[in-house]
Every structure is written in C-alpha cells, then in structure tokens.
C-alpha cells in the first residue's frame, strides 16, 4: 500500500495534480498571434484615431471565457502631441497603465469547429481604472484552427471618468468608437 503521509509522496501527488491542471488548461487555450485595436473620435472640429498592435488576447474554448489586455502607452497616434495628451491627460497611463476586458461568450458555440459565429460577450471592461459591466457583440470566425475575433463597440468617456477639459471639449467626442481585430491560435 502506498503511504500517502510521507512528504515525498505528498509532493509527488501535488506535483502531478499541478501538471494535470496546467496541461488541461493549456490544451483548451487560444492566444493572440496578430491583433490590432484601434479607436476613433469624430467631432466636427477634429478626427482623432489611434491603434495598437500590442493587444493580447486569450480564449478558453471549453469555458468560452475571453480576455483582452493592452498597454495604453502602446497606442500610436499620427499626431504625437495627441499621443502624449492621451497618456498624460486622459488615460493617465502612469496611474492606470493597462486597459482590460474579461468576459464570457454567452452563446454555446463550439470554437473548435470551423464556422462563422455571431456572438455576444458579457463581461467587464476596465479603462482608466474604472470597471464597467458590458455586453459586447462580435463576430468569431474559426478556420483551420485559427480563431478570428472582430468587434466594434463604443466607449463613453464619462462612464470611465475620463473628463475632457472645457478648453478642448469641442475636439474630443463623448463616445469613442473602438474596433478590435484579433487572430488567435492554439497556445503552445
């Protein structure tokens, strides 16, 4: 009979459990290979756009959990002055360096099978240190083991306590259009 009380045995059982769980979770995880997030602010005075190719995404195809993370300082603007103001005045990137979303695909879709799925993701969007419950629609395309996620949604600056000074209020839209384009492959 195996003596489970010896420290060596405990250790090996635990190690085995850890390996099993890690292995199991890795087997169903898809991580981003090539992803872009961009946003637009449209006002009669000025159009502002920026994009980041450093957004990271993870999808668990078994639980249909999904997560996105992007460093605010990775957003590139055509106008570098705007980029500086974006980080310093609006996102306050030194205080809140990351923007994140974590959620779950509501529809019971099988993301291991090829197809095009219109989905809704419910979860929490964290911008500027303020977390909001959101329901965001998207289109998931699965083909040859690659999951592609496309989504357009709006972010209200006021909802995330991003205040626009009166001096520039005409130049920045109250609602920002955000576009996410992510390709994910099985995580190795």
């Amino acid at each position: 009979m195996i003596n489970i009380k010896t420290p060596e045995m405990k250790k090996s059982i635990l190690t085995l459990l850890v390996i099993c769980t890690t292995y199991a979770s890795q087997a169903q995880l898809y991580s981003s290979t090539q992803s872009v997030i961009s946003f637009f602010s449209k006002t009669p005075v000025e159009d502002i756009k920026a994009e980041s190719k450093e957004i990271k995404a993870l999808v668990n195809v078994q639980t249909r959990d999904i997560a996105f993370l992007v460093a605010n300082t990775s957003f590139q603007f055509e106008n570098k002055l705007m980029q500086e103001h974006f980080n310093e005045k609006y996102m306050e990137s030194e205080k809140y360096p990351m923007s994140t979303f974590k959620g779950k695909i509501i529809e019971e879709v099988d993301l291991t099978k090829d197809g095009i799925y219109n989905v809704n993701v419910t979860g929490k969007l964290n911008l500027h240190g303020v977390e909001k419950d959101r329901n965001i629609p998207g289109v998931v395309t699965v083909k040859n083991g690659v999951i592609h996620i496309a989504s357009d949604f709006k972010v209200q600056l006021a909802a995330h306590q991003i205040q626009v000074p009166k001096l520039v209020v005409a130049k920045i839209a109250e609602e920002i259009d955000v576009k996410v384009d992510a390709s994910l492959a099985l995580k190795k």
Binding site: V18, K56, D65, L69, L81, G103
Partner: protein
C-alpha cells in the same frame, strides 16, 4: 510543510476563483510591464525662456511666437504704469519654425526683433528618463545667432564675424511625479564681440527651474538663470549693466496650442540675449509681461 500548504491552497482556490480572472492574470504575467519613457515632463519645448527637455517629435512642426511687451514701468514717473499701459505699447518678438527630424533630434530657425537677430539651433535628446532605470533626461542644445543690425560705428573697422554669438547647454531634467518637474541647465554663451575689454566673451550660467502641474491642461513655472562669471561689469558711461533673468509663468494647453503667459525681467528671446545680456532688473519698473504661443502641426502619415 509550508510549501505543501501553499500548494494545497492554490489548488483549492484556483477552482473557486473564476476562470476569467485566470485568463487576465495569465495575460498580465505574460506581458510584464517594460520600463517606458517618461512623457510630459514639461508642457512645451520652453519652460518660460529656458529650453526644456521636450523636443518636437519626428515630422512635427512647431510654429512658435515668443512675445515680450515693454517694461511695465509701475512707478510714480509713469503714472504707475498707465502711461505705457503696463508696457503694452512696446514689444520684442521672435517668430520661430521648429521641426523634429527624429523623435530625438530637432532643429529650429527664428528671427528676433532684438538686435535684428536670426538664430538657428539644434537640440538632441541624449538620455531619456524611464519609469525604471534612467532617473533623468539629458538634452544637448546649441545655437548660433547672427545679428543683422547695422554696426554702431561705421567708421571703425568692423568684422562680419562680430555679428555671431553661440550658446551651448546641457539640459538636465527630472519628472519627480505627476506634479513636479525640475530642470538644471549648465550654459555657456559666447559673443564674438563684447562692449568693453573687461566684459568676458564667454558667460557661464546655471539655469534652474521647476514646473508644477495645476490641472491636466495648466502648469505653473518658475525659472532663474544666475550667471557664474562676468557679474561685476564696469558701469562706465552708457555701457549697460546686466542682470540675471527670472521668470514666473503659466502654461495653458488646448490640444494643438500651448499658451505660455508670464512675467519676466528677461529681455530678448534667445539665450545669448536673456542670459548674457539682460539689462533689466527684477522689479516692478523693469518687469515685463510676455507670452509664447506654440502651434504644433503633424506631417506624420
């Protein structure tokens, strides 16, 4: 034993904590935060008169208007400033076009009314303060000024090289936190031609200054540029005595524009003038109101 307990707890709670958190945590741990460049140490490429560590980014053009009114003349002889409307009757102005060649290298051209002077400068960001590691920014600055004013004494033998003057600065800055930034600027000014034999051609000075954030769009700035030599110039006849420049000002940023409003005794808008040849004292008679307007254009596509 402790390790086992930790492992046990980890196993227990990893099941309870929602898998969503796990995904986000996995992402954050996969992408550890790299030290990033510290931005917005100052609002503009100038503190008030002094150059700050900020440079124009690549393919960005700054059209800059630097304007100082005349002395405020707040004294009894001038009806307590009303005679000249606190100096608004007169002005010294510099118009400049300043351009970023790369994110670290910028050049500028300008023309000042004082001495009918053209100037060209190069500013290079040698070191950039980082969130971790590099504690400060170091920027090198050099300019050449060419005065095109007619020589005072046309009968004397005049050399065209007498029109030239140079400035070298090492600009050292540190953004302490979101609210405070400091600047230290060792400076050398060289004038090819000086007024008297006793006046040194080379003036050394140490610019010091601070910028305090008031709101996201406004900052309060103070600077003082004491000279380290040439302070005891002879006060013979019509040769002026020079004083150290001090300035107090506000930055108001409105997106593409930065408006800098200030009071200073600094006369002239390039370093050779307001550091080495400033004839005004810091008092209510000789203090002047001034402003800089900076408008940035992006040619980046």
């Amino acid at each position: 034993m402790k390790k086992t307990i930790y492992l046990f707890y980890w196993l227990l709670f990893s099941g309870i904590v929602s898998a969503q958190d796990d995904l986000l945590n996995m992402l954050s741990s996969e992408a550890p935060q790299k030290p990033t460049a510290v931005y917005a140490t100052f609002k503009s490429t100038r503190l008030v008169n002094l150059q700050s560590n900020e440079t124009m980014k690549a393919k960005h053009l700054d059209f800059r208007i630097q304007h100082r009114f005349s002395s405020m003349n707040i004294n009894k002889d001038n009806n307590y400033g009303l005679y000249d409307v606190f100096g608004l009757d007169g002005a010294v102005i510099r118009l400049g076009l300043e351009y970023g060649i790369t994110d670290k290298l910028m050049i500028g051209l300008g023309r000042s009314t004082a001495g009918k002077t053209y100037d060209g400068f190069v500013k290079y960001q040698l070191l950039q303060q980082k969130t971790k590691g590099m504690p400060m920014s170091v920027v090198l600055f050099g300019n050449t000024g060419i005065s095109t004013q007619a020589f005072a004494d046309k009968n004397r033998q005049n050399f065209e090289t007498s029109r030239l003057s140079y400035v070298f600065q090492t600009i050292i800055t540190r953004k302490m936190n979101d609210y405070f930034s400091f600047i230290l600027t060792p400076t050398m000014v060289h004038h090819n031609l000086v007024e008297t034999k006793e006046t040194p051609n080379d003036i050394f000075a140490l610019g010091i200054g601070t910028s305090i954030k008031i709101s996201r769009s406004t900052r309060f700035n103070i600077e003082y540029i004491p000279r380290l030599n040439g302070r005891n110039q002879p006060k013979n006849g019509d040769k002026p005595t020079y004083y150290d420049a001090i300035a107090i000002g506000f930055d108001i940023e409105t997106g593409g524009h930065v408006f800098q409003l200030h009071f200073t005794n600094g006369n002239g808008l390039i370093e050779q003038q307001f550091i080495a040849r400033n004839p005004s004292q810091f008092n209510l008679t000789q203090l002047r109101f001034g402003f800089n307007i900076s408008r940035t254009f992006s040619f980046d596509k």
